[in-house]
Structures are given as C-alpha cells and as structure tokens.
C-alpha cells in the first residue's frame, strides 16, 4: 500500500509541478495546493500505514500507527494554509496593480 500511496503522492507532485510551470497565476496557485497535498501524503506514507490503531491511547491496545508523521503533517497543513491564503491575496493584488495575471507579462527589466 505504501508503494501505491507513494505513486499517488508522486502523481500529485507531478500535476502540481505542471501547473506551477503554467503562465496564469491562478493555475500556479492551484499547483501549490496540489504540491502540499502530495507532500503531506508522502509524510504519512513514510510512517507505516495501517499498522495498529489510530494513535489515541486505549486500554489493551499496544499497536498504534506512527503518531509522529501525523503531528508533523498537522503542523505542515496549518503552515501551508497560511502561505496559500497569503499567496491568494497576493495573486489578487498583483493582478490588480500590474493589470495582468500572466507570468510572462510579469518579467520586469533591469532599469526601473
């Protein structure tokens, strides 16, 4: 199952990267969302999947899934949420001030 999930995460990454290479800002932002999903899936997969109970202590259960990756993912989810929101507003403001949302028109020159 870990291999399947690795492939899935890789697929999410690939799709995310492809979007990142596009010209339209919105698509790029969508790409970052896919990338974070991919990353989180990778982290989860790197703990062992499906071995043991959810990591909530219960009497009589000794085997739990690896809690550490879950904790790391939680931190990471919150952080990516912050960054994504910032990026979305920034995308909007960039569009507003530069009058375009196409990256190839957002190159700039040396002399300004």
């Amino acid at each position: 199952m870990e291999i399947v999930m690795s492939i899935l995460a890789g697929t999410l990454f690939a799709a995310g990267v492809y979007l990142l290479l596009q010209k339209q800002l919105l698509k790029i932002v969508l790409g970052t969302a896919l990338l974070s999903h991919g990353a989180h899936l990778f982290i989860l997969t790197m703990g062992k999947l499906n071995r043991g109970a959810p990591p909530i202590l219960e009497k009589g259960i000794t085997e739990y899934t690896d809690p550490l990756p879950q904790a790391l993912i939680l931190t990471s989810i919150v952080i990516s949420f912050g960054v994504t929101s910032f990026l979305l507003v920034l995308a909007y403001r960039t569009y507003q001030s530069n009058k375009t949302d196409m990256m190839d028109q957002l190159r700039g020159t040396d002399d300004e």
Partner: protein, 780 residues
C-alpha cells in the same frame, strides 16, 4: 623599531587628514616633508650596520594563530628600496609643494601619498608573505587614488581603473603563489622559505608557483604584455608619476623577483621567463617610446623599457647581472625622477606636454634644459664618466655576454641575448634624444603655447638638481655607493657579497664596442627620426596592449550582459524549470551512483480497495486540473483532491489529520472561490506543443523521482522510530490520550508555537496588503 618607520607615514596621513584643513596658512606639503626626510636620515644611519653584514629586524604580533605576523627585516635589498622610497619621496614632496597649487585638494593628495609611502615601505621590509601582500595591494589602491586625483577627468578615471584592474589581477595571482609557497615550504616567512628552497624546487607545483608569482611582479612592473596601464597612469599629477610610476611602485615587481631570486634563480624556467619577458619589454618599450607625443608618454614607455632591462638582468641571475640590476635600479631612479620633474616643469611653464608644440625651449629655461640633457644622456648611456646610466648600461652589456658560462638553457640562448640588449639600447638612445632635442632645441613654437615660457622657480628646480647631482656624482665616483649600498643589496639577492670595483674604463672590450654601435646607429636613427616615424602608423592598432585591455574589459562587460540576460529573463517558468531539472538530474545521478534505489516488499501494508479507489479518483482529479478552464470546475477538482486526502487520512487512521484537513480544505476552497471572483477567467494554455512537452517531461520526472526516493526510503528503514517513546509516555508523562495532540502541544510544542506565529504573520501580511488597496503605489 622598523614598525614605527612603517607606521609613521600612516600616522602622518591620519593626522593630516584630520587636522590639515585647519592649517591654512602654509602649503600642506611642508607638513608632510619631514616624514620622508626623517625616515631617510634614519635609514641612512643604519647603513653602517648593514655594511657589517648584519640585518635589522623586528617582529610584532598581528594574527599569530594564522602565522601572519608583523615581522620586518632590513637587509641590503630592503635598504636600497627604503632609501629610494624615502629619498625620492622627500624630493617629490618638495617638488610638489611648488608644483601643486593650493587650490587643489592637497589634503587628499598628501594622504594618498603618505598611504603609498607607508605601504611601499611595508612591501620592502616585510618578512611575512601575507603582510607583504597586504602592503602590496595597498600600493595598488593608493596608486589608484593618486591616478584618479583629478577625478572629474575621464582620462584619469580610465587610467585609475585600468591600473587597479591590472595590478590587482597580478596581486591576486601573487596571493595564489604565496599561499602555495606557504603550503609547500610550511612557513610564511620569506627567509624561512629561502631556507626551505629545496621543498619548493622539488614540488610538483613549482611551475604554477613561479608563474603566478611572476604574474604579480610583471603586472606591477609594467612588463609586456601588461605594460599598458603605465602610460595611462600618467594622468596622475607629475610628482606622482615621478615617484610611484617611475622610481618606486613600479619597481615593487623587481623587488619581488629579486627577493625570491634565492629560491628561483638558477632554474631554467626562471631564466627563460624573466629574462625573456624583460628583453621583450626592453625592446618594445624603447621602440614605442619614440612614437609618443606626450612628454610623460615618452617617459612612461621609457620606464617600461628600463624596467624590462632590469628584469632581464634579474633573470640572468649571475653576480655581474645582479650588481648591474641593483645599480641600474638606483641610477634609473635618479635620472628618470629628474626627467619626470623636468617634464612637469615644462608642462607647468608652457601649459602643454605635447612635444609637437614644443621646441627651442633652451633659451627660455636653460637650467631645466641642462638638467634634462644630463638626465637623458645618462639614460641613453652616453659614454662619459659623468653619466651613471652609462656605467650600469655597460654592465648590462657585460652581463649579457657572460651567460655562456652558465649552463642549462641560459647557455643555449646566450648568443642571442646581446643582440636584444643592443637593439633595446639603440631605441633607448633614440627616444632619449627625441625627448630632449625635440623639447629644448630646434625651432621655437611659442605661438602654439598658452603661456609665455620662462624658467621655473628655484623651489621647483631644487629636486631635479639634487637628483642630477646624484647622476653626476655616481657617474664620477661609483664606488661611493658601491660598498655601503650596492654590495649589501647584491648580497641579499645572490647570497654572496660581491667585491667588484666599479670603473668607467675597462679598456676596448666587447661591451664598449656594443656601446659604440648603440650610439652610432642610435644617432643615425635619432637624426632621421622624422623620416621613419610614419612607420609607427603602419602598426595596426589591434596589436597594442591598450587595445587588448579594452577588448577584454568591453568583452567581459558585454559577454556578462549577454550571459546574464540569457538566463535572467524574469520568467518564473524558466527559473522553476532550471531548479527542477537540476533537482532531477543531480539527484538521479547520485541515486544511480550510490545504488540508492532499493525496493522491498517485506514490510508493507496490504493493498485495500477503498483506499486505492480514493487514490485513483484523486490522481484523476489532480491530472484533470491541468485541463480545467472553467473556474468552478477547477475548484471542484481541487476540492476532490483535498477532500480525498482527508478521506485517506481517515482510512489510514489519522483522525486528527482528517478533521484538520477537512476544515482547512473547506476554508481554502472558500478562499479560492473568493479570489476567483476577482481574478480573470482561466484561459486555455497558448503554449506550443514543444513547450507543453517540456513541461510534461519536467513534471513527470519530478514526480517520478520523488516517488522513487520515497519507495527507496521506505524500503530502507534501518532504525526504530523515536515514536515509540511518544506512545509509551504520552499518557504517563504528557497527560493525554491523544498521542498526536500530546506531541503537538507538549513534546513538540515549539513547532506549534511557531506554526501559530506563521499564521499570525500571514494574517498580518494579508491585512497590510488589503490596506494598500486604495492607496495605490507608495513606493519611494
């Protein structure tokens, strides 16, 4: 004590920099003059010590941990240079008092000059190679500032930049050599390096060390093909040209070669390179001098050629040659110094240095003219016992003839060397005559001058007079300086104290015939100069060293621009693609070479269909986002991936994650919706097929690479996870059942604290961005 001698000019520079603006009544030069004068006297007082074969030394701590110590020593070679630096220094300062108007920025001028003086003393007195290097670079910097003294002139800034680039280039290659020397000989002290010379000579790095070191010397001493900075340095005020660019700084290269002679001299490589470059420089410099029309230009090429001659003698390395070299270093400083000062006087009194507009000045300025004639005849090597230049020139011929006795390559090339020596000297004769005859004799052209010429004030003449006295005195009584000054210097270079008696007349020997040839042919060529001067115009400009320099600098700037513009396109796609390609290629290569990829099926969770199904849907949705050109559709597919992920979290027994992901996904989707409403519609990609293919390749290979590394990582679990501790202690020590929560708030509470900080920052940023909204641009 040596420390204080070096420190004195720096202290004086500091004091003058701070206080001189307040002392308005007298010319700043008068305040500066005591510094070199006192130092000159002090150094003279050490002459008897050196004559006994002793040296003066002192050491102080600077960076003992790196063995970079302020250790200085004064031997014969350093003494010769120290006397030149302080002696010519005094005369130049005296001269400058009359040369530079008080309207100039005198404080700046003298601060730079003192900086130079101190640094130059540092160069010739240092025993530690890195201290030497420090002072060496400072001579380049002070020279840069002095050439750019009239900073508003374009020629000055051009010359300043050029001299800095060329000499710092040499300085850096010298630094490379010094580091290699220091590694090879396991010491930073020059004297210890000399003691360990066999380590250096036997090292595999001998040739690179030699080449790098010589690059430093050749650039500083304006040797071919690096000579072209010196003519451009003539933009500096004339006292500077007389001081730095003829008597002292340009001789630092000679000093370096002489100083390291005890290590390198005697090897074929050293002989070939040093005497070869020296002779080429001698010939090219003297040949090109007669082409110049600016008096200082002639003198600059003359300096180049004379430095080449001395360099060649250092390359010969025989006792005779070294004595001749040392002697000529001294003589050159006297006659060239005076000639520069006279050139400055002519400029000062007539308003031009263009020899085409000068002529017949003898009637107006007889003293200057007489001085110039003596200086020039000495430089030309006219065989009269009053010209010190003749003596050393003849010793040069003599040494060039005595190379057959040396073995190795020196013997092989020996026959050719006197020919070059004579050739260079012929043109030396030509430009010397061209210089003085063109300026002081011939037709008067006073109508072409801005001012009516007249003799310079006595103060200005004083320094050249003193120098010319030296020319004559040494010419008449060379042994006056032989024993106390020259012999110890030669001893420092060769290791043996010479017992040569310097004399004017050695009988009718080959060197004398060589001199006669020089004078005969030289006189003929000088007389017919006007007729053959057009030859110079036939030389294509692209052969000139200045042309090379300009081509290189412009080429550098131009190619920098095109290289940089090639990749700095401002295109995010390009930047990202490069990063990704680098990521994929480098990681794959390393994975391949380290056999990084392993796959094991031992420790895997069984594949169950609900998860696979969800995963499949997610994958399809993720890929589908690429083609979504409807905003609402894009949100739906991105939502499918996000919610799918929470579902996977549920399947994989991560309830907290599932919950958080659910909430975050919902808010994110809402944010997307909000933003989409304000942003333009999604457009169909207008990329070409090949662009799409490139994107696709990069994307797929990135995904594939990460998958491969992930599988390999999972397959090579080698250690027990620290998670066991969390499971065991979550309740016991952390007081909670939910292990993930305990980790977040307790075991790894710091992460959570700063995760909140990130959220806060994001909120702050978003808030600020929204506030700008109505105000528009407010960039300064």
């Amino acid at each position: 004590m040596l420390h204080f001698y070096i420190l004195l000019p720096f202290l004086a520079a500091l004091l003058i920099g701070l206080s001189a603006k307040k002392v308005n009544r007298i010319h700043t030069g008068w305040l500066v003059l005591p510094v070199p004068a006192v130092l000159f006297i002090i150094f003279c007082s050490k002459l008897p010590v050196l004559a006994k074969g002793k040296i003066v030394q002192s050491t102080a701590d600077w960076i003992p941990s790196l063995d970079i110590q302020l250790s200085f020593y004064l031997d014969g070679l350093s003494m010769l240079f120290s006397l030149l630096i302080t002696g010519i220094g005094s005369l130049v300062v005296l001269y400058s008092i009359f040369y530079l108007s008080r309207k100039e920025q005198l404080v700046h001028f003298y601060v730079y000059l003192l900086l130079f003086m101190g640094s130059m003393l540092g160069v010739v007195l240092s025993d530690n190679v890195f201290v030497l290097y420090t002072f060496w670079e400072f001579t380049s910097i002070s020279s840069f500032l002095l050439i750019g003294f009239w900073f508003y002139r374009e020629r000055s800034t051009y010359g300043a930049q050029k001299s800095m680039l060329v000499t710092v280039f040499g300085g850096l290659s010298m630094l490379g050599a010094l580091i290699l020397l220091s590694i090879t000989a396991e010491t930073n002290s020059i004297r210890m390096m000399i003691a360990n010379r066999s380590d250096i000579l036997e090292s595999d790095l001998f040739i690179p060390i030699l080449l790098l070191l010589l690059l430093g010397a050749f650039t500083k001493s304006a040797q071919f093909p690096f000579h072209s900075w010196l003519p451009d340095a003539m933009e500096a005020p004339t006292p500077v040209s007389a001081y730095l660019h003829s008597a002292t700084m340009v001789k630092a290269g000679l000093y370096l070669v002489a100083r390291f002679s005890l290590i390198f001299s005697g090897t074929d490589e050293f002989f070939i390179i040093v005497s070869g470059i020296g002779l080429i420089t001698l010939c090219i410099g003297s040949f090109l001098a007669s082409r110049q029309t600016d008096l200082k230009g002639i003198l600059a090429y003359s300096t180049i050629s004379q430095l080449g001659m001395i360099m060649a003698m250092l390359g010969f390395g025989t006792g005779v040659a070294i004595l001749a070299a040392i002697f000529h270093i001294f003589n050159h400083a006297t006659f060239k110094g005076s000639l520069f000062m006279i050139a400055g006087i002519v400029d000062h009194e007539t308003g031009t240095r263009d020899i085409r507009r000068l002529g017949g000045l003898y009637t107006f300025m007889p003293i200057s003219a007489t001085l110039a004639f003596i200086g020039a005849f000495s430089m030309a090597g006219v065989p009269l016992p009053v010209f010190n230049g003749f003596l050393s020139k003849e010793m040069f011929f003599d040494s060039s003839l005595k190379l057959e006795q040396s073995g190795g390559l020196a013997g092989t090339f020996a026959e050719w060397i006197p020919i070059f020596a004579v050739l260079g000297s012929i043109f030396t004769f030509v430009y010397s005559m061209y210089l003085v005859f063109g300026t002081f004799l011939g037709k008067q052209k006073t109508d072409q001058l801005e001012k009516k010429p007249h003799e310079a004030p006595i103060g200005m003449l004083l320094s050249p007079i003193i120098l010319i006295i030296f020319v004559i005195a040494v010419g008449l009584l060379p042994n006056l300086i032989n024993e106390p000054l020259l012999a110890p210097a030669v001893a420092a270079v060769t290791g043996d104290l010479p017992h040569t008696h310097l004399a004017f007349w050695h009988g009718l020997n080959t060197p004398f015939y060589m001199s006669l040839i020089v004078i005969g042919v030289g006189a003929l060529l000088a007389y017919t100069l006007k007729r053959w001067q057009p030859v110079y115009n036939k030389i294509p400009g692209k052969f000139s060293s200045d042309h090379w320099y300009q081509t290189m600098v412009n080429g550098l700037l131009k190619s920098s621009k095109s290289i940089t513009e090639f990749y700095m396109t401002g295109s995010l796609r390009l930047y990202l693609s490069i990063i990704l390609v680098f990521l994929v290629v480098s990681t794959s290569i390393f994975m391949y070479y380290t056999d990084g990829f392993t796959i094991s099926f031992d420790d895997l969770a069984p594949v169950t269909w609900p998860e696979v199904l969800v995963g499949f849907v997610m994958a399809v949705a993720a890929i589908a986002t690429i083609w979504m050109n409807q905003r609402i559709a894009a949100i739906i597919v991105i939502g499918v991936v996000g919610y799918g992920l929470s579902l996977l979290f549920v399947f994989f027994r991560a309830p907290d994650l599932a919950l958080t992901q659910l909430i975050v996904e919902t808010i994110t989707v809402a944010l997307f919706l909000l933003c989409f409403a304000h942003l333009p519609k999604l457009k169909k990609s207008d990329k070409s097929k090949s662009e799409k293919l490139i994107d696709l390749t990069i994307a797929v290979s990135t995904g594939a690479l990460l998958t491969i590394v992930a599988i390999a990582s999972h397959s090579s679990k080698s250690f027990k996870s620290i998670s066991k501790y969390f499971v065991d202690n979550s309740y016991k020590l952390g007081g909670g059942d939910n292990i993930v929560n305990v980790i977040l708030v307790d075991f790894r509470g710091l992460d959570t604290l700063f995760e909140i900080a990130v959220l806060g920052l994001a909120a702050l940023g978003i808030f600020a961005m929204i506030k700008y909204r109505d105000k528009g641009d407010m960039n300064q």
